[in-house]
């Protein structure tokens, strides 16, 4: 009896081979990563042996284990095998993967045209199981699966797979299998068709743009919202099915959860569907020398590679290596820039990376010091100067935008010069946009292809930018009072209004490449503030100072020595207004506005003194004092409102002699009215008294 059971439960060889292939493809090395068992014809073909027809071979293998003529009980053997597996160690996936894979293949066939309903699932499933069956056979199988409820067993198998993944606590991956509120049974396989391998690869670029490693993972709702903005004008390498699902109410919840799961488990690498690191090929134009070339911005996890590709029918190999002094790779062997690459794009593929230039009718370029010219960029930046490379068919539209919305000063490069490298294109330079209303107004009239290049912002998630941040070594979100940051909102190809809440006060704003200047909205008090937009919460702190009473390191770190400016000089000759080895002058000061002023000399003689003219060229500044620096005078006596005041100019003992009558008269007056505790003045008083007594 035991051997009979074993014989029944033993998986047929072809079935077991597919079980192993699928287990290896989807459940091996996937610890804590969302597992999506996406299967379509191409995936099955990749999994098949060379020369084998993948979908047919899988169907044949399944039919060895599933008796399609056994009516409602057709999956009995598979159910028994799964039951036996349940009682075992369960350290491998349940033995139902080939059946489940066929159910996904059917769902992928069904959803290719975007129409999803249970009544058009069972024909693709029957065809998947009987790829060479007659119409009658397929129809009969459809009836059994759908009307007689045989498919319920498959739905149960999906449930079992989900439970196993969950109970394994992420060891084999995180389940993305979901029930569907309306399409209960077929919802399971359907859930596995929405995100294919290429979608997962393309999403890594989106995750990178979100700067999740630095700023954390956004919530599920805002993540989906930002993804819709990111894909609003370009598929970004995502499948049509995926993009359609983002806005499909029936699967929205599922997509929200799944994208979030993928974001949480992202390892920080941008990959292609083949698992290669994605690099950007960027176009550089030197307008001064009328030259153009390709560059590749460096990424952390690719140090070198040999990239190969074809341009204008010519194969090329380019050596990529890190340049420690530049943000760009050192690349040798890339082809010259050709118009064909602008029209169709250019791809250079290596062993660990792939560099790509995406074609566009309007290429926006910005000045880049490392590139040594104008380098193509993803998005237009307000207030920054740009160069546009524009395909002939978009020239009229772009010129209209420039005329009505760009700051003055833009020019078109002479066409014969442009034609040397970019036949069929125009180049404009000196382009700056600083009028938000004018740009928005101009963009309304443009075609999607052109508008996408001009409206789309650099951000895919709300972000605090600009402002005057302080204490950056402590936190990234502390701003000097009055220098609060701007809020940059994600901007897609379509105009978009969104609610922005700051400290509980909500307003609706138009998302634009022009960020929202928070510092202009209010006088923000010192302390924390909260901004909410697109489902994200951003916090910033306002402070009047860094609060550190120590003299910050770095003050005066640049100075002059021998007429040359340098950093870290131990004792600069000049730094700001400090000049080394000089003494600060300390002139004697006297108050202006006296009715009489006299200089007193050590010999007791006096000379009338006129106050110097007030400084000129200082509007609204009063100068109540003047410097008194006579080379011989020792005191200044000033009469103010009938009273005499004295100011000592220098220390010098008195040595009275030969005073004139007017000197004597003045001394008499001073002796009677000046009240001073200054011992030197008292010496002068004694000297006067002695002299006067002679």
């Amino acid at each position: 009896m035991g051997s009979l059971v074993e014989a029944v439960l033993r998986l047929p060889d072809p079935y077991e081979r597919w079980q192993a292939r699928l287990a290896d493809e989807f459940f091996s090395g996937r610890e804590n990563q969302p597992v999506v068992m996406f299967v379509d014809r191409s995936v099955l073909q990749e999994l098949a042996d060379p020369g084998e027809d993948g979908p047919r071979a899988l169907a044949a293998a399944v039919r060895q284990f599933v008796d399609v003529k056994a009516g409602r009980q057709m999956f009995a053997r598979a159910e028994a095998a799964e039951s036996a597996w349940r009682r075992g160690a369960r350290d491998q996936p349940p033995p139902t993967l080939p059946i489940l894979a066929l159910s996904v293949l059917a769902a992928s066939e069904m959803s290719r045209d975007g129409v999803i309903a249970s009544n058009n699932y069972y024909i693709p499933l029957s065809k998947a199981m009987l790829p060479d069956g007659t119409g009658a056979e397929v129809s009969a199988l459809r009836d059994v699966l759908r009307d007689r409820g045989a498919f319920t067993s498959v739905a149960e198998m999906w449930g079992q797979l989900h439970r196993w993944l969950t109970e394994s606590d992420g060891k084999f991956g995180v389940s993305t299998i979901r029930e569907h509120p309306d399409l209960t049974r077929i919802g399971y396989p359907l859930s596995q068709t929405l995100v294919r391998r290429s979608d997962r690869a393309a999403l890594t670029r989106f995750f990178d743009r979100l700067n999740m490693l630095g700023e954390g993972v956004p919530g599920p709702e805002s993540l989906l919202s930002m993804l819709r903005v990111w894909t609003s004008y370009r598929s970004q390498g995502l499948s049509e099915r995926f993009i359609a699902s983002l806005s499909e109410p029936a699967v929205e919840d599922y997509m929200r959860t799944l994208v979030h799961q993928l974001a949480v488990s992202w390892d920080g690498k941008i990959i292609t569907a083949e698992g290669l690191r994605r690099l950007d090929l960027r176009l550089v134009i030197d307008l001064d020398r009328n030259s153009t070339w390709w560059v590749i911005p460096a990424v952390q996890d690719v140090a070198e590679d040999v990239l190969s590709g074809t341009c204008d029918g010519q194969a090329f190999n380019a050596l990529l290596a890190v340049d420690p002094y530049s943000s760009l790779y050192c690349v040798e062997g890339l082809p010259p820039v050709a118009t064909s690459a602008l029209v169709a794009g250019l791809v250079a593929r290596g062993t660990s990376s792939v560099a790509e230039f995406q074609p566009s009718k309007v290429v926006v370029l910005a000045d880049n010091a490392d590139a040594g010219g104008w380098m193509s960029v993803d998005a237009l930046q307000p207030y920054e100067e740009h160069v546009f490379l524009v395909a002939q068919e978009a020239v009229d539209e772009v010129e209209r935008v420039l005329t009505s919305a760009a700051d003055g000063g833009w020019r078109r490069v002479s066409q014969p010069i442009v034609d040397q490298h970019f036949r069929g294109y125009a180049i404009y330079f000196g382009i700056t946009f600083s009028d938000q209303a004018a740009l928005e107004s101009a963009l309304i009239k443009l075609s999607v292809n052109v508008v996408a290049s001009l409206r789309t912002g650099a951000n895919v998630r709300p972000r605090l930018v600009n402002g005057l941040p302080i204490l950056r070594n402590v936190a990234r979100n502390i701003y000097l009072s009055g220098g609060e940051p701007d809020l940059a909102l994600p901007v897609g190809a379509e105009p978009r209004k969104t609610a922005v809440t700051i400290d509980g006060v909500t307003d609706t704003v138009l998302a634009s490449i022009f960020p929202l200047p928070i510092s202009r909205i209010d006088n923000w008090e010192n302390g924390p503030h909260v901004v909410q937009a697109d489902g994200e919460e951003l916090k910033f702190v306002v402070a009047r100072s860094g609060g550190d009473d120590r003299l910050p390191a770095g003050i005066g770190s640049i100075g002059w020595e021998n007429g040359e400016l340098g950093s870290g000089l131990p004792k600069a000759s000049v730094c700001g207004a400090i000049v080394a080895d000089t003494d600060a002058e300390r002139p004697v000061l006297a108050r202006r506005g006296a009715s009489e002023s006299w200089l007193i000399f050590a010999n007791g003689q006096l000379a009338e003194f006129s106050e110097p003219a007030s400084p000129i060229g200082f509007e609204h500044i009063s100068f109540p004092l003047f410097e008194i620096d006579h080379p011989k005078a020792t005191w200044l006596a000033q009469k103010r409102r009938g009273r005499w005041m004295i100011t000592r100019i220098r220390f010098h003992e008195p040595n009275f002699r030969a005073l004139s009558p007017s000197d004597r008269s003045l001394w008499s007056e001073l002796a009677q009215t000046v009240a001073s505790a200054d011992p030197i003045w008292n010496m002068y008083m004694r000297a006067w008294k002695t002299f006067n007594a002679r």
Partner: protein, 307 residues
């Protein structure tokens, strides 16, 4: 434009990259509905350097705020002006110790105003020095004279290779009626200052006979003026204070000054360079004749005294 906020931020941040600083200046200006051209943020930085608030290392793209000091203005009755870093609460703290007057930048002189000139006074220098020290500000005396005394003579940079054949070049023309100007010409054998564009940025070479030398913008122009015996430095006497003759310096034809020379003149008044009609004449107020002479001599000019 809350320009003092920018200086406060620089004082908090202490040092950084010139490119980042220029972006933040432009941002602050835009928040005041100004839309400065990039040359204006450069001009602002040169003013801030001349006012001794910060040192700007254009070659290495770095800036650093200078120590907070008070500079005695020449023949101004013990009046000092603040230079160097200035945090947001500094003026408030000084007001509790000293007489403080402020002189906002003349908004008409340029699109981007420079930081407010803060003037401090006390009944004596001792009192002034003590009040400043309590607020962390060092009194340095007549910095304009100290700097003028240390000015290095103008000199060209290191030897340079001649421009490559076919390079687009401009040559400084000094003889035109409209003052100095660069004119696009074909490279020839004439001596003088030549301007090239290297990686999108201007680069200057000075040719003396068969040799070429690197030069910065100001040095190159002043050297050319000197070689052609073109005087541009004038001083007009305005008042005498004791032994000091004080007046106004006029620098003609839009001739630029190297940073330390500009600082020596600007720190005589604590006010940024003013400009005359059509910005062809730079004007520096309250300059002692001795300072004017030292600055003129350092740039190979003879000071012309005018009435």
């Amino acid at each position: 434009m809350r320009v003092d906020l920018m200086l406060a931020w620089m004082s908090e941040t202490v040092s950084g990259e010139v490119r980042d600083l220029r972006q933040r200046i432009a941002w602050l200006a835009r928040n005041a509905d100004l839309n400065p051209h990039s040359s204006e943020t450069g001009r602002w930085l040169r003013d801030v350097s001349a006012l001794a608030h910060a040192e700007i290392d254009w070659v290495n793209g770095r800036w650093a705020v200078a120590p907070a000091v008070a500079v005695l203005l020449p023949s101004c009755g013990g009046t000092a002006v603040l230079a160097g870093g200035r945090r947001l609460d500094l003026v408030e703290r000084l007001e509790s110790q000293l007489s403080v007057q402020t002189m906002p930048c003349d908004q008409d002189r340029s699109v981007l105003p420079t930081p407010t000139s803060v003037i401090v006074q006390a009944d004596s220098i001792v009192e002034l020095e003590r009040g400043l020290a309590d607020c962390g500000v060092r009194y340095v005396g007549k910095a304009a004279e100290h700097i003028a005394h240390r000015l290095p003579p103008l000199r060209l940079g290191s030897r340079a290779a001649p421009p490559a054949w076919g390079t687009v070049v401009e040559r400084l023309e000094t003889g035109g009626g409209d003052g100095l100007g660069f004119v696009k010409v074909r490279l020839d054998s004439r001596v003088g200052l030549w301007r090239l564009t290297v990686q999108g940025r201007p680069s200057y070479l000075y040719r003396t006979g068969s040799e070429w030398f690197h030069a910065d913008h100001a040095t190159g122009i002043l050297w050319a003026l000197s070689e052609n015996n073109i005087p541009v430095f004038r001083w007009r006497h305005e008042r005498t204070d004791g032994a000091e003759e004080v007046g106004t310096v006029f620098l003609d034809q839009g001739a630029p000054l190297p940073p330390l020379q500009a600082r020596a003149l600007v720190l005589c008044s604590g006010q940024p360079t003013a400009f005359g009609d059509l910005a062809k004449t730079a004007i520096y107020r309250n300059v002692p004749k001795t300072v004017a002479e030292q600055v003129a001599r350092s740039v190979r000019q003879r000071l012309e005294i005018i009435n």
